[in-house]
Point group: C2
Chain length 149, copies 2
Amino acid sequence: MIQPFDDTYFMQQALKEAQLAFNKNEVPVGAVIVLDNKIIARAHNLTELLTDVTAHAEMQVFTAAASYLGSKYLQKCTLYVTLEPCCMCAGAAFWTQISKVVYGASDEKRGFKEHKIPLHPKTKVASGILKDDCSALLLKFFENQRKLK
Amino acid sequence: MIQPFDDTYFMQQALKEAQLAFNKNEVPVGAVIVLDNKIIARAHNLTELLTDVTAHAEMQVFTAAASYLGSKYLQKCTLYVTLEPCCMCAGAAFWTQISKVVYGASDEKRGFKEHKIPLHPKTKVASGILKDDCSALLLKFFENQRKLK
């Protein structure tokens, strides 16, 4: 049974965002930011709709959380994101000084770990939460894309 | 004598943007994007005004150029920016597939070169254009900040 307020619960919320991206024909990545067990921002990838490569879920959720808090820094917050952040998003995470980054599926090609992008020294990282669900949605998306070609 | 339409000319335009940031008490970094010798987007750092660490000059100028072109990709464009891009901005540059990145001053601590952030294989890089002017404005800013403390 899923307990509310644990990593699985919040990753499920990020997955709901990823599903919204999927429904819009966007690469299905979703993210939420949590402060004191409360979701303060939600976003999903919108690079196609906005015609903007910077519109990754993480970038938008950082902006939304900062706007909610009235603070550039997210030092007491946790990011939940369905896919390992890319270099851009990890670079942004660095600047936010976010407390924790939790991601679902790994991205061995474009993920920040492969490229050794530094996060802030105070940022903890956890991974693999609901990774099969996170990956399955991405695989389904790319399979559909191939069928359309 | 400065010739229009060379790297020095366009870096001067980026410096004008950096000066606008300086006037707003923002870290003075400015950027322009050029296509076929024409500036199609201008931006300067607005992280304080927007309370958003993602509001670096480069991120905004990528979004503005993509909006102008109606294309996520900036394959025939050149970015001129007064300071070496950070990991976040270099990561964004990767996704844009931009043709060329020209920066003024180096950033040995936070710059993408130090962290070996990959740009797109098709992206050329040039540096050091008006680097003394670009650095001088940054140094003046941080000197003023220290005086205020």
